[in-house]
Subunit: 381 residues, 2 copies
């Protein structure tokens, strides 16, 4: 499904996937039953070797996580498979999260691997409802990596940490021989303190809830693709990488009891988050295609790439499910924050069909938005 460079034939696969799931009169029930059957199967990894798709955030990643990591590490804290784990430590409730960053190129319009790594971990903590406090930083450097580039990455991390109000308090550096890495990989882990009561989680969505995104989607992913020079187009786009802890706090302050779950839409994009919510909550997520904010430059690049912007990574956009009764309050709170000016109501939670994401298209049709197959955008974070 995925070629050696991680991009070949992905568009084709995606189109096939969508066509096979297209909800046409008469075939609908049959299709739903087939999807349901496939999803009930115990997760397995059939491949003998790791492919790029295992890192793409879609179906293969999910199988890998469920069949290998969850199977071996199984414990109640890991099982929700949220962006971070929430646990008690002494008398406090804390969250812990981690992400490794392998983005290529290391420097791109709007950021670099350093601020991306800090913002990503800050965001994973924030969407767990934690106040991000302390980060660790682990570097894997390739022999021959320019020390000047490392200085730039590290300086960006320091600035990003200051902006987000967190401290990088511990770290580690490893060096591997030439040809055993790609310049610089960064891991950040983070600890946050949960100070608000109540539980947030993808299993908390209920029929009648509203689905909100905090701004235009897909900018990070498209920026990275353009920065690689693989597309012969120029667009005035920069990555949306940003720390979301302030925006999240604004939302939780405005409607403290009415937020069901929040996620930052990274690998796999908004579509992947919505699928996780639909499955975990056993609800239908019904999205209005025309309501999803997408900048013209992103839409144009996505058309050339043959990919739906719903699958393209953001690094500073929030997806939130809130009680339908407070949607105006929630939108107003988000729009009052500089990072949420473009917030929009994009859909509603329904009852049927449970576990699926449906997209109502501008042409009056409906199609199922499934998890991603293959890896259309390798190494975007």
């Amino acid at each position: 499904m995925t070629g050696a460079d991680g991009t070949a034939s992905w568009a084709e696969a995606l189109v096939r996937e969508h066509e096979s799931h297209a909800v046409r009169p008469g075939r609908e029930e049959q299709v739903l039953e087939r999807i349901d059957r496939a999803r009930r199967r115990r997760a397995t990894v059939r491949e003998e070797y790791v492919t790029m798709a295992h890192g793409a955030g879609g179906k293969a990643t999910q199988s890998l996580i469920e069949a290998i990591f969850l199977e071996s590490f199984r414990n109640p804290l890991l099982e929700p498979l949220e962006d971070g784990a929430v646990f008690g430590a002494g008398t406090e409730r804390l969250a812990l999260t981690t992400d490794s960053y392998v983005v290529s190129p290391l420097f791109f319009p709007g950021g670099n691997i350093g601020d991306l790594a800090v913002n990503g971990t800050v965001n994973d903590l924030a969407v767990c409802g934690a106040r991000p406090l302390y980060l660790s930083a682990g570097f894997i450097l390739e022999e021959g990596f320019p020390v000047g580039d490392l200085r730039r990455v590290v300086a960006s991390m320091a600035v990003a940490a200051e902006v987000a109000g967190v401290q990088i308090v511990t770290g580690d550096t490893k060096v591997v021989q030439r040809g055993k890495a790609d310049g610089c990989y960064v891991n950040t882990a983070g600890v946050g303190l949960i100070e608000r009561p109540g539980a947030l989680g993808v299993a908390g969505a209920r029929p009648g809830d509203a689905v909100i995104v905090s701004g235009p989607i897909g900018e990070h992913g498209v920026t990275i693709m353009l920065a690689r020079g693989e597309l012969d187009i120029e667009a005035d786009l920069i990555s949306d990488t940003a720390p979301l802890n302030g925006l999240v706090a604004a939302l939780l302050d405005a409607c403290p009891e009415a937020v069901r779950c929040m996620r930052d839409a990274t690998r796999g994009g908004v579509a992947t988050i919505l699928n996780e919510i639909a499955r975990a909550s056993g609800v239908a997520v019904v999205v209005e295609e025309d309501a999803v904010p997408v900048r013209q430059a992103v839409r144009g690049a996505c058309e050339l790439l043959g990919i739906d912007p719903l699958y393209v990574a953001c690094e500073g956009r929030l997806v939130a499910v809130v009680d339908g009764a407070v949607v105006d309050t929630a939108l107003a709170a988000l729009r009052a924050h500089p990072l949420g000016e473009g917030a929009a109501l994009v859909g509603r939670i329904g009852e049927d069909p449970p576990g699926l994401v449906l997209l109502k298209t501008g042409f009056g049709g409906t199609r199922i938005v499934d998890l991603l197959v293959g890896d259309p955008l390798p190494r975007i974070c």
Copy 2:
């Protein structure tokens, strides 16, 4: 100083280093003054490109950390440069630590990258005086890595976590193209709870204190070198990788107020830890060479490699500085634990010369044991 494969000419460099620092009558003051002058210099990274030595745990690593990471991230929690950071979160005191693992080969006698990664982070928390609780796991996989090998690594992590009494509660997987990694790299970060009063740290050693190691040194590093087949010898050695939290608890229970600092001696070996203690505390560390436990097989391999076992990594050995008055109690507590049977008093803390580690050799001589130059044992963890 270091060849492309990270090993060339290191032995030569080490010998030169030792010879130049050898304390001979008449030259002693001159040498000490020169060393002192060099150490007062503000840390700089003169190299334009990252070398294997920057990851070896010795002088180059120290410069990189001080001149780049500490310079940018500077904050009071990072500054002690301990194995983990200790901070308050709400009403609790916690520790956070991280390590990336790039060991080659991935599987070796006595363990693999998976249990090494779990034990390493458990140990970093334990030596901060924290009870290790929760770990994160981040994987960077190379396209084409056998899924079966990943299963083995993950299964070992699960077993190691169970043995250490910790849970792996969150994780992340990235995949990079062939030739951009070396099969599998693992990052673990960990959170522990500090339940005992008092501060531990490399700056806490005082003249009269005793220096203890918990067992024979250098077994992990030599096992890795032999597993690579780079030496044409066979030896009945396995890695000492083990979780030290039980052993640390036994020591702290036995002499709660008398432990100044603890470290696990990984990259750079016992010599590096002792140098950190000598510098941070402004004391002399005087080690009796004949008192340092080294198995015959390790000694033999080290002779062939031309390296001092004091610089070879352990992954399950504790270096502890305790009040000289309780040394017998401390040794008895360590020896009563399966992982501390070979514990030995190896030296004393003195006043002069401050900041240096002196080795009293079996032949009645004294030499300075400085930080490592170059990278004699690349990618041992």
